[in-house]
Symmetry: none
Subunit: 249 residues, 2 copies
DNA sequence: CTTGACCCTGACGCGGCGTCAGGCTGTGCA
DNA sequence: TGCACAGCCTGACGCCGCGTCAGGGTCAAG
């Protein structure tokens, strides 16, 4: 097939196909003697993948690695997951608009916080892409999404308060000179693990240890802990890993 | 509020707010003596509108005219409509992926046309914006709203009874093996078109054809028809489009 | 009075194409 | 057989919506 036909079929412009060729995202498998691009069925398959991932907000470069790195079944699973995430998010936005309509009908008006709730802390366009990269396929992630979807505002207040409280007690222990690989520190870590299990997802020691490592590797987490007390990220990380080792034994 | 606070609340970057100020999309209503941007609650309202329309794929320039040109109630209605369109589109994509999964599981593979169906002829990113342009403030929609607003309970009883009756006759035709692109089927379709014209809004063949397409694309409509008789949605859709072609000739 | 977080205004860059320009190719029909 | 006209090619420039420095003021806490 020639570019024009492919473009018409897929609902993109010729220029787009040129672009994908140029950047090596999708190069037609052949050329006619006169230099016309010739697309094979396999090329169409690939184009289809590209378009799905593109619509989901992935930058083209990343689309390339995604496509290169996994088999068809994996694509379908991933796309399914991402699409359902988007579905949920859109549902939430619809609900938000309906809530506001109702509020207006009753003459009350929502606070800015309530209105931005749906946007808060997410980059909406790149949202799916970023989450996907970090957490991908884990069951824990799916579970967390399922559970948190049902949480009310009060649930969130309670949960964040509990988290805050535990973090403060950890900071106190750190300042008191408690070593992170001793029993009291490990107890706090264990409490942390159980909190996660209650509020978000099943968190066996092994997973918890991985989380602990992340606390020092991912600067966003590091920043959160360091903001409470200097050295806390490292302290918590060590305590969590020590506790995981203890639990497994 | 200062930029940083607004940015954090709304989940955007400070740079974005600078940008919106520069292009006049959202200029803070005041400045401190030292030149700091000061955002008022009204500014937050506006920002919220901007973000919703942006997420729906409108270019910023158009967002400005949209916001300028309509009152809050209208925004809510429009956003609601656009979001539900997106919801449906996402549902369709989920369904498409599921269809492909099933096909794979059964060892068959879909044709390129089937796979691109969902993309066909739409620029996915700008989809909502496009729909809005096409259908959004159409006369048909406005007319329907005006007319139905005046209907009494008895009007509704009559109208739904008429609709029911026609649907049943269509189902009968379907079960009798009448092909949807033959004259009897087209006559029923034409009756349908005239019913719409009487009860809701002027419905020239072209618009009716678009409606027909929707009967198979929009699962809410599909479900309504399929509940009466399996295959009816597709049958009606085809009949309506065939009739439209006949009328135009 | 300093320090560190926060704010300002340029200015440049980038991703993902849209949109010419200038020229070759392929084909229906006169 | 020639030509008109659609379709393809390769540059090259432009635009939108910001991200990301750079260079420099501001404000609150200690």
């Amino acid at each position: 097939m020639n570019v024009g036909e492919v473009a018409a079929l897929a609902g993109v412009t010729v220029r787009t196909l040129h672009h994908y060729d140029r950047i090596g995202l999708l190069s037609p498998s052949g050329r006619s003697t006169s230099g016309y691009r010739q697309y094979s069925p396999a090329d169409l398959d690939r184009l289809h993948q590209v378009l799905v991932y593109r619509e989901l907000g992935f930058p083209l470069e990343e689309v390339a690695t995604l496509i290169e790195a996994s088999d068809p079944a994996e694509h379908l699973r991933r796309q399914h997951r991402l699409l359902r995430d988007r579905l949920e998010r859109t549902r939430a936005m619809v609900a938000a608009v309906e809530k506001e309509m109702e509020a207006r009908a009753m003459g009350i008006s929502l606070s800015p916080e309530e209105r931005f709730e749906i946007f808060g802390e997410h980059d909406p366009e790149r949202y799916e892409a970023e989450v996907e990269e970090r957490w991908g396929d884990t069951e824990a992630y799916a579970q967390s999404r399922r559970r948190t979807a049902a949480y009310t505002k009060e649930d969130w207040v309670r949960i964040t308060a509990e988290g805050e409280d535990l973090m403060q007690r950890m900071a106190t222990a750190l300042r008191a000179g408690v070593a992170p690989d001793t029993a009291p520190a490990m107890d706090l870590a264990e409490e942390h693990r159980q909190q996660i299990g209650r509020d978000f997802y099943d968190c066996p020691p092994e997973l918890h240890a991985a989380l602990g490592r992340m606390y020092v590797e991912d600067e966003r987490f590091t920043a959160t802990y360091e903001a409470v007390a200097p050295g806390l990220a490292q302290w918590v990380s060590t305590a969590v890993q020590a506790n995981a080792a203890r639990q497994e034994a």
